[in-house]
Amino acid sequence: MNKIGEHIRQRAAELLESREIDAFIGFRQGSLPMTTQHYVARSAAEAQNLVWNSFCVLNPTNILPSLLKSFEPPRRPGDPLPDDLPKVGIAVTGCWSRNLAIQFQENQASRKRVIAIGLPCTGMSDRRQILAQTGEMVTEVSETAEDLYFTGGTVASLKRTEILRPNCASCVHPQPVARIMTEVIEGDCINNDAAGRFAEVEEIEAKDSDGRWDWFSSEFSACIRCYSCRNACPLCYCPTCFVDDAKPQWVGKGLNSSDTSIFHILRAYHCAGRCTDCGSCEAACPMGLRLRLLTKKLDKDVVDMFDSEAGVEPFKPLPLSTYSQADPQPFIVQPSHSKGEDS
């Protein structure tokens, strides 16, 4: 971890120093222990503020499009963009790199303007899980490849694998997408069993309809409609989000459970075939909702039905922008006579 942090600081400083990039997106230490914040370093000196640890849970690509845009000069409509716009550096793990792939495909970031440094990832730690074990009094954390050590908590150390964020615990693509990386830092990556990757989803699926509805309605009844999930998501970049649309008004603004449900369904659906399970939404949610379950369910179906995984093949068309004549359609209602004798 420390080695990687050192490497990031060094490369960011070099790139900034050489003016190859004008900014580098990374993390700095948060105000509380076990937290980090997005940080944009704009000089070699600032690059020294960059940190890398198990609590870099907010997807840095989230701020990439707006940062890139900030370098664009004001223009009259119809004027072309200059060719030599400043570049931005960013360090990305597997899931973030796949977000980058989507952003490239959706024109939210230009490949020409991004220096992407691929990072190995051993999985990020779940602050909530740790605090549940250590108590709230932790003042300092240090980490090795296997373990985390706490100062001030009721527990001195925890195994990394026991306190992984759920998205990291089910991650099967920790390696950055090499084809869109400018450079890659080699290192060990988390190695999860692919068979269990959708266990969280399968657990819900196993319930009956009423059970699932009870789960869904109770889970999402806590939502306060703060939209932190949306704001943390690197894929939510519509100028006007549907929740803010007035004509037509898709969802009411109040805390009506129907409106809240539809917000979450549509938000998840908008991520279908695009979500890389980076977990930022959950990390950002002040109410601790298991938001990922919806997007993860979609991930699972996209894999099952369309053999596609967001960003894994960075130049393959996104699943909802293409089709195959042989796509499955078991959900299609058939006239009764064509279904055989027994139905």
Binding site: C238, T240, F242
Partner: protein, 1005 residues
Amino acid sequence: MKGSVLIIGGSIAGVQAALDLADSGFYVHLVEMTSGIGGAMSQLDKTFPTNDCSACILSPKLVECGRHLNINLLTLSELEEINGEPGNFKVKVRQHPRYVDPTKCISCGECAAKCPKKVDDLFNLDMNKRKAIYLKYPQTVPLKYAIDPQHCIWLNKPGKCGACAKVCPADAINFDDTESIHELEVGAVLMSPGFRPYNPEKLDFTGYGRLKNVVTSMEFERLLSPSGPCTGHMERPSDGKEPTRVAWLQCVGSRDENRSCNSYCSSVCCMYAIKQAVIAKEHAASDLAASIYYMDMRTHGKGFEAYFERAKDQGVQFRRSRVHSITPLAEDNLQVQYADEEGTLQRDEVDLVVLSVGMEMTTKSQELAHLLDVELNENNFIKTDPFNPVATSRPGIFVCGAVSEPKDIPQSVVEASAAALEIEKMLSDSRWQETQEAQFPAERNVFAEAPKIGVFVCSCGINIAGVVDVKDVTEYSAQLPDVVFSQNNLFSCSQDTIDQMAKTIQEQGLNRVVVASCTPRTHESLFQETLRDAGLNKYLFEMANIRDQDSWVHQNDPEAATLKAKDLVRMAVARVRGANALPYNQVAVTKAALVIGGGMAGMTSALALANQGFPVTLVEKADKLGGNANRLFHTWQGIEVRQQLEKTISKVFYHDNIELKLGTTVEKATGSVGKFTTTLSDGAKLEHGTTLMAVGGKPLIPTGDHQYLYGSNKQVKTLLEVDEMLLTDINMGSIKQAVFIHCVGSRIPEQPYCSRVCCTHAIEQAVHLKKLNPEMDIFMLYRDIRTYGQREAVYKEARSLGILFIRYDLDNLPQVNEEDGQLQVLVQDHVLLRQVKFNPDLLVLATAVVAHPETKDLAKVYKCPINQEGFLLEAHMKLRPVDFATDGVYLAGLCHYPKPLEESIAQAQAAASRASLILARDMVPAESITAEVDPRKCVGCGMCTKLCPYNATTLDLDTMVASVETSLCKGCGACVAGCRSDAIILKNIANEHLMAAVDAALMEM
């Protein structure tokens, strides 16, 4: 010179030609013998190779044809007499009485329900009954009933029965109807009467006519069809049981000089049999065993070979053998007995046998040919010229479709457009002379007005009123918000009601209209015209379908039907409230064409357009014209190509309207239909209204397993190389033994399609060689002989000359070796299963035709799709064979798919015809209901550009905003649904309109 055209036969070809001609400035009289148009295609269930529902793709064309201002549809009519000369024919058409007034008939079907006389339903090949008063089929055009005078009780015994007249709510029955003679003056005549399926009754060994479960393929189409006699449940005739084992017998009434006397191949049966097998398997409740018994599998069209392969994967059994006799077994089952390829007798038990019957000229068509004084060929089809495949022997009389040779739908449609083109060329001076254009008053701008909605509720006689309480619905609608007028009409579509409706709109100052009646599919345009007559934009209109989707389907529940009608009216009112006036979009046309490719196809297109007075730029990458035709010796009919080619080249060369650019290619292009700007490699910038791509193809250079010493042994040649030798008079007569290998590079996993031309080409060449030197031994090593249509004659000729055909398969390729400079070919004879050894002094490889790799780049320039094999992909394989989905761009020739010269020429003519539709006008109409981007909401993700099949959406990467090219948009809404940001709306079908309808539907009353 007259500006009108007589088309005889409402087949798909006739309908397509009528539309092409009427849309490009000619008035069309379309004469149809039966009571409705649609031809054989209307009887089909699905169509190959796309498995499109036939009715689904055909209906819109028929409706368009029926409603066209410049098409005069004459049903129940026959040509009686023709005089005059090309450009000025005088014809008499006899129209038989319908006994139903089509202006009054509302096709409610009350008459047929009450008619006591049951008659065999010819449309379903007599497999069920219709009534003496009947609708030909549910989607027919005109959608009007007719009385069958042979069976009608009243007409045979006046005074008896008359039930139909008693129940007809529209007073449409007219027993006193008489026949009428139409004397017309037309510039040209086009024959498109279609074909008849061979009747196998004479073939006693099939048992057809005696064994109930032996049916023809056309009968099977009806059995499969949801609108057929068993509503698509696939029941076998004897006992209604669903068959689980079905056998198809190929070449019934085709390729048979003995019993049917049809020596030609009917070209379509192999494919339709595969299609039926696949569809039957899909239909079946349990696993259906489908077997096809055939001699040569002829899947020579685009996508056919892949379809064939897919069918094999899906378990369709292909047995290369022919069944001699079908014998009955217990429980109405049947036994087919055949000798397999080894010569062992086998017996299969099946539940149903389908005879894949061929196509024949009808007696009526022969009479017609006689009347028109056009020659027939040896197969009794209309005789045509390979270099003008739609011209008959008589000038001014043209032909298209299966009446000149058995052919599939796309080829018929190609010919229809080609024939239209030839007529356009001939009559181009009279364009727009006899056509009419609808006139409407200026439209009132209602933008600032508050909605004032009028609701007209139709009783449709008792069709609606008999179930729905129309008074209640009318009163209810008056109370709906913004509704200022509501009225109940007996027949909303009757002329007096229409007139009165227009008046009401004006008097009441209505600015939105709802008609609650039947279906918008048949009546929307009528009411929309009424709005226009009243000075309202036609998009300020909605229909509530309270007949077809309400009163007719809830006949026993008037209360619920009335409630539903109210809901439907409320929904329509909600939807129309937000409707906006939309522009009648038009695109200005630059009256010039760009033709890319100077081969036979490109030249034909260029000449066809130039001869109509349109300036054409013809761009050819090589430094001479002619393309592949330069290397061709003979057509399959044995006609020399060179002479005709040189004629064409010189015509192009000296044509005032053609600017020829040799050694030039296309670099880039912008714009769309009506106005393209293309930059050429010489730097020239062209402005043109349409683009035709005819960039050709090329022969494959044999490699790998299929190289057969090509390139290393000089005695190994390709077909074109031998053609070139023949063209340069190199003495070929001294060759003692020649061996041809077919399918070199075709129908192999790496190149899975059939190249269509090589069988015929190779055999024609072999025949020529054999005639040069009758002592020459010639052997053809083939996989399936695909001399489709009348090309079968060449195959027969070759055999009759002693050319021997030996079949090989992919597991047993011919082995070609060289020993001391002497070629040795080994192959296994497919009958004796013994190895045969040849020492030929000429080995000819019939190599595949492949697409030019550059085709892909050109396709990108004009945003046109290509298929996996690199050929350009047309808009629709069946009904739009020369169009792209993108308007204003057309294709012809080998770049579409391998094809012989005459088909390239026909396709080039067709492409020119389609281009003429644009070029003949100053403005071309475009869709009004189009998508529109709200730039404030667009994030520039580009999703919409990937969803649009017409390339109407583009993304500006500088502004990161998408936009819609209105002239290309067809209003499907795929982009709207795909846009997460709701940045695209579909005009008048925006989310808010649909939500308004949903909310209205769910509103509690």
